[in-house]
């Protein structure tokens, strides 16, 4: 163990964990990374391309190397950053992306082959022979690529989503964020403070700074305690704000239970959509490194991270007695030396690129020096230092690298505001942030503790002033700004590989090669070399790469370009974005009023858009669905059947101009409809194609009821409202959707009148009093308000009866009871489909949005006497000359089914898209015909009655002969429904 004194770990709570099968111990407060370092584990992973041995490089979410598969079984979580994983008792983690053990990865051969695998090599080879790509090259590449593996089991945990609203969202709980939150909280604003870490404090937890002369954590604790007391403040630790969306909406993931062995009764994570009137972005900064030859060895880490490990987690990067070196281009690196020395760690040298480097303490300082090489394949053993033209090797166990800090501008650029280069800060700073966002602290280059505190307070005051809060300055603790002086130094020149992007193995040489091949714009560079495309999204590499490219081209960094960031800030579990709506709960289910009754009858259900509808009602002894459906169809044609048709859209239309309004939305005339009558209607889209069909009933002079198909219920209502509000706002007409208000049951069959007569309250159902297409408001079952429509989808004598939805189930039960002796039979959507196909009525397959009234043989319904939506466009050349017509098709071999979706050809003709004569839209077995029948559209179909066509289904290797017939297989004269 290489534990130091102090730190924010709980030494009274030891925790056991496993890494690659070996057991270790850490403490509460550790991350997996700090615990691994404390246990002397340096090699933790392999790089993506060359499978180089890698160690922990950072102490935060920017980690490129230390990716593990956390947990086991269905909870296994690949590519998890050890630096962001809070240690819990029993934690199990495995390294990934190697064949064989981590220590002896067979794919490390890639490193030896690296000269052949330079940037973009794969675009230049693997082209011959052609078939080898899918068979040989690509599978091999895929096996070697990828990082961790999914368990392939469904995620067993629960997730949630929620909305939050606040006046001020503070992103980041470091010095600036805490000062901002406290300022706003005291001003009475509704504040949300979110930080990705498990505790607030940011770099204050990682530095040895004092505030008011006491350890900074004391001030952090006091502020958090005060904020926690405020009812207007919500503290959200373990919460990553990952994206800035429009109008002040932010996406955030709270990791509710990731620090626990299992979530237990909790959700694992929650997706929050935070609507913030204003936002302070206090996201801090990420340290950058300085590429040098072989700079990727385990034991080389960012200087700020090494400080964090020493100060926050009390771990030394080396066993007691071994030495650490620091490589820096500025004063910041020296802080690492001072902190390590204070903790009793031996510092070999501070290697400073500046010739006039200052000295801050008692350590060996090499000014004007650089690190030019390293040794130690699985863990750093020595570094080579160049100074004054001489190179010497130094034995060290770890090297800290400090290249300056890059402000975390990510969220500020989510609305495509490009960061701008600031020569004094040697960094890109936020520019044109999303509306309402005020960046503050280290993410605008104000990383000193005192300046970050002050800037956070300023930002909160500025943001709140726009909201009419009078935020007063708060008294900030006494703090210092550590010197951030630095001299630009971007990489150490050399001939060996110097890594820029660790995870994706992009080196300075690759950037030079990209330049040579004219992949010079930043975006070309990224795409050609894969720089910044790894799981760390280039947090430690992008700016360094830009600087290297600038140096090669001889341009400045701002001339070379910049790059913006897109959501998410760090990786977000796909589960939590999907939320809890999985499996059967993916979409809501709408149930018909008779659902419970149908279920009790043993109905099979089928999804019809959002609805679940009874498909058929299986009876004892029926072993195949066809038996049930045939029985139901025959019962309707012989006796009487009942079907819940509530799902059809129903729209109440009222007002003195209702008739005129409907004249304009229907292609045919509705204003002339007599009160007490129903008319079949067609609606067109404005482009002249068929939109929907249904019935329109006139209950009173100023009151109509429109029905639509189930599928178009929403769209028809929306379009009618569009017509009413946007096109003709001066008409006196009101609309309301009543689909859910009325249960509607079709009562169909020769005995339907007899059945209904038993439940109506003295209403005359005779053909004379209530003819075909009549409608009425009446009472049934002794006083129940109802509507009755004499309409038929089946071609039989039929009615639809509507009652308030809550009586739907009772009505169905009453009809079943009353009609027992009449052979009343419930039927489902399958029988409904057969009945309408036998009658030649169009449904979804014929009304697919590509067809016209003419194609259905209903061209004359489009009235030329009036203007209506779509009428004019329906007369365009392409529609008017379309000669495809709906016909019936009979299988020439009655027992052979014609598949819907087959294409139709003139018998004997060559079959191609050019000779295509049409297609089969709907097909079924017709008990009435005693064979398979179908509907279809056929070129000149109305003139080809009796012709034998070929129905070709090459997809499934089938071909049939079919006879063109009338689409009305049942009662073509229509006598039955008028009886």
């Amino acid at each position: 163990m290489s534990r130091l004194s102090g730190g924010l770990i709980d030494r009274d709570t030891p925790l056991n964990f496993h890494f690659n099968g070996r057991s270790y111990q850490g403490y509460a407060g550790d991350t997996l990374a700090s615990a691994l370092i404390a246990n002397g584990v340096r090699l933790v992973g392999r790089s993506f391309k060359y499978h180089r041995p890698r160690g922990i490089f950072t102490a935060g979410s920017e980690e490129p190397n230390a990716l593990v598969t956390l947990r086991e079984g269905a909870r296994a979580e690949p590519n998890t950053r050890a630096t962001m994983t809070e240690l819990f008792d029993g934690l199990v983690a495995r390294s990934q992306n190697h064949i064989g053990s981590l220590e002896h990865d067979l794919l490390a051969v890639n490193d030896l082959l690296s000269p052949f695998l330079a940037a973009g090599f794969y675009y230049k080879t693997f082209m011959w022979p052609r078939a080898f790509w899918e068979k040989l090259y690509e599978p091999a590449i895929r096996r070697a690529a990828g990082l961790g593996a999914l368990s392939m089991e469904p995620d067993p945990d629960a997730y949630d989503k929620g909305f939050l609203h606040c006046d001020l969202l503070v992103i980041g709980g470091g010095a600036a964020g805490l000062a901002a939150a406290l300022t706003a909280g005291r001003a009475g604003a509704r504040v949300i403070l979110a930080d990705e870490d498990s505790r607030f404090g940011g770099r204050l937890l990682a530095e040895s700074d004092t505030l008011n002369g006491a350890p900074a954590v004391d001030w952090v604790a006091a502020v958090c305690a005060e904020l926690d007391q405020m009812p207007n403040v919500r503290l959200m630790s373990r919460t990553t704000v990952f994206g800035a969306y429009d109008h002040g909406i932010y996406g955030a993931v709270e990791r509710v239970a990731d620090h626990l062995p299992t979530p237990g009764a909790c959700v694992r994570q929650t997706l929050w959509r935070i609507t913030a009137r204003r936002t302070v972005l206090a996201a801090g900064a990420t340290e950058r490194h300085i590429p040098f030859a072989d700079n990727d060895r385990p034991g080389i880490m960012l200087a700020g991270a090494m400080r964090a490990y020493a100060n926050r987690w009390a771990v030394s990067p080396v066993p007691a007695g071994d030495k650490v070196a620091i490589f820096t281009n500025g004063d910041d690196g020296h802080r690492t030396a001072l902190d390590l020395i204070a903790k009793g760690v031996r510092v070999s040298h501070v290697i400073d690129t500046r010739t006039d480097a200052p000295r801050f303490g008692d350590y060996d300082l090499l000014s004007g020096a650089t690190v030019t090489g390293s040794r130690g394949r699985k863990g750093l053993r020595a570094i080579r230092v160049a100074q004054d033209g001489r190179e010497t090797w130094h034995i060290v166990g770890a090297l800290a690298v400090a290249g300056g800090w890059n402000p975390n501008v990510h969220l500020a650029s989510h609305h495509r505001g490009r960061p701008v280069w600031d020569e004094s800060a040697l960094a890109f700073l936020p520019h044109n942030p999303p509306m309402g966002m005020v960046p503050a602290g280290a993410c605008v280059g104000k990383g000193g503790t005192a300046e970050a505190l002050a800037d956070g307070m300023r930002a909160a005051c500025a943001a709140l002033a726009e909201l009419d809060f009078s935020a007063k300055p708060i008294s900030l603790p006494e703090a210092q700004n550590a010197s951030a002086a630095q001299a630009p130094y971007w990489h150490v020149p050399g001939t060996r590989r110097a890594w820029v992007d660790f995870q994706n193995d992009v080196t300075v040489k690759d950037i030079a090669l990209a330049h040579k091949e004219n992949m010079r714009s930043v975006e070309h560079l990224k795409r050609w070399t894969t720089l910044g495309m790894a799981t760390d999204q280039g947090k430690t590499s992008n700016v360094s790469a830009l600087a290297v490219m600038a140096e090669i081209t001889g341009a400045t960094i701002p001339e070379t370009g910049t790059t913006i960031f897109r959501p998410p800030y760090t990786g977000v579990a796909l589960s939590v974005l999907g939320g809890g709506d999985t499996g059967e709960h993916f979409r809501p289910k709408r149930l018909t009023p008779t659902h419970g009754w149908a279920k009790a009858q043993g109905a099979e259900f089928v999804e019809v858009g959002p609805w679940m509808r009874a498909q058929y009602f299986s009876r004892d002894g029926e072993t195949h669905w066809r038996q049930s459906v045939d029985r139901e169809v025959l019962a309707v044609r012989r006796d009487v059947g009942l079907c819940d048709v509530t799902t059809l859209g129903k729209i109440d239309v009222q007002g003195t101009d209702a008739g005129e309004f409907l004249n304009r939305v229907y292609a045919n005339m509705m204003g002339t409809l007599k009160v007490g009558m129903v008319r079949y209607g067609l609606m067109l889209r404005e482009d002249g194609h068929l939109f929907d069909d249904g019935t329109c009933a006139r209950l009173a002079e100023d009151h109509y009821v429109v029905t639509s198909t189930t599928a178009n219920a929403g769209a028809v209502y929306r379009n009618m409202e569009f017509a009413r509000q946007c096109l003709w706002p001066d008409l006196d007409v009101q609309l309301i959707s009543t689909t859910d208000a009325w249960a509607q049951i079709a009562v169909a069959g020769p005995k339907s009148r007899a059945l209904l007569q038993r439940i109506v309250d003295g209403f005359d159902l005779s053909n004379e009093a209530f003819p075909f297409m009549a409608c009425a408001e009446l009472t049934i079952c002794k006083g129940l308000r109802a509507r009755l429509f004499r309409i038929s989808f089946s071609g039989e004598l039929a009615y639809e009866v509507a009652v308030p939805a809550r009586y739907g189930q009772a009505l169905m039960a009453r009809l079943m009871e009353a009609g027992a002796d009449l052979g009343v039979t419930p039927y489902g959507t399958e029988a409904l489909g057969v009945l309408r196909t036998e009658k030649g009525h169009a449904a979804g397959a014929e009304l697919n949005g590509q067809t016209t009234a003419q194609m259905l043989g209903l061209g004359r319904m489009v009235s030329a006497k009036k203007d209506s939506i779509g009428a004019i466009m329906s007369r365009r050349e392409g529609l008017a000359q379309d000669r495809r017509r709906l016909v019936g098709l009979k299988s020439c071999t009655p027992e052979v089914q014609i598949p819907a979706g087959a294409h139709l050809f003139t018998k004997g003709a060559t079959q191609s898209l050019k000779t295509d004569q049409g297609w089969v839209t709907s097909a079924c077995y017709s008990p009435h015909v005693g064979g398979y029948i179908a509907l279809g559209f056929v070129e000149n179909g109305d003139r080809r009655m009796g012709e034998i066509l070929t129905a070709a289904n090459p997809l499934e290797g089938q071909s049939f002969e079919v006879e063109v017939t009338s689409a009305h297989f049942v009662d073509p004269e229509g006598g039955r429904l008028r009886d």
């Binding site: 961790g148 040579k516 091949e517 796909l574 598949p899 839209t921 997809l955």
Partner: protein
Amino acid sequence: MKFSGFKVMQQALTGHRGWAPLWRNPEPKPAYDVVIIGGGGHGLATAYYLASNFGITNVAVLEKGWLGSGNIGRNTTIIRSNYLLPGNQPFYEFSMKLWESQEQDLNFNSMVSQRSIINLFHTDGQRDAYRRRGNAMHLSGAGGEMLSQEALREKLPFLNFDNARFPIKGGLIQSRAGTARHDGVAWGYARAADQRGVDLIQNCEVTGFRIEGGQVTGVETTRGVIGAGKVGVAVAGSSSRVMEIAGMRLPIESHVLQAFVSEGLKPTIPGVITFGAGHFYVSQSDKGGLVFGGDIDGYNSYAQRGNLPVVEDVLEGGMALMPMIGRARLLRAWGGVMDMSMDGSPIIDRTHIDGLYLNGGWCYGGFKATPASGYAFAHLLATDTPHETATAFRLDRFARGYVIDEKGVGAQPNLH
């Protein structure tokens, strides 16, 4: 320079000193026979085919940013020829054939991977619609097969078959479909066009057209006036903006489509899968990332970014279809601006201005069309007649009533 495995090895052993720029950075000449506006996939492919097939090499491609910075660089890389309507299907099948020989034609590995696409269906109605479509594919020579639920269980055992709101009943597979490396496609065409003498001019934005007597004579750009015998516009996403300069209104709205990629994973998903009942489609890149997307955001936008509800909608679909992806992480999301046309199908046509040609309206399907679009546009520019597979992509089809509306939703672009 010819690329080959041998060349890679030779260069590896000599320190990669011999590589040449993939293309030149030429100064614009005063005039060209043909100027292509737009250095994306379609523009670059057009230039390549003009040079290689029609011998027209005095050509410039003008790109306002960097080559490939439009939708060729921000899509989900799917190639397929599984359309329904006769106006579309032969064109996409032609494109598929060009994909199949692209790497050898261009001497550039764009990683065309015929990994298959499976469209899942959930109801009998969807099955029938797919059967009609599958038969149209067969009639155009594109192939395809119906897969039963049992076959799917074998191929894609990780799908949610047993606990789904919309149970999977089967699928339509096109085995020749798959993916290609999107940036590589742009670079391959760019390099091949450059090698044949085409000038690729980056950071050159077109600000105006020179039109004399109803005839285009050149373009005004941020790098000066460039004369042109003919001008081809291939700027999908911005077609309305560019054509507005020439005084034209188009049957197009610009919408944003988001796409997503997960962190790298070991091989998980064998081909392309589309979920008919939700808004979700997915494949896995060679690098290991799950590449997926769903619906467009649905409102007019040029912002190249979308909003959270669609992200959630896409992942709800993803999790409902394949709940085993849950513990992977979203790595990047991006938004592309689509030319959403009024019937969901593209336009490759002349305009009422002589010498000015338009290639646009690709909706979210432009990537797969890249080779055929370039070929057909080159054909039109070179011969003034539409390519035989692109005869339906006319501007006047809307007025005349010959729309190519695969989805049957009419003139509402956000529904296509």
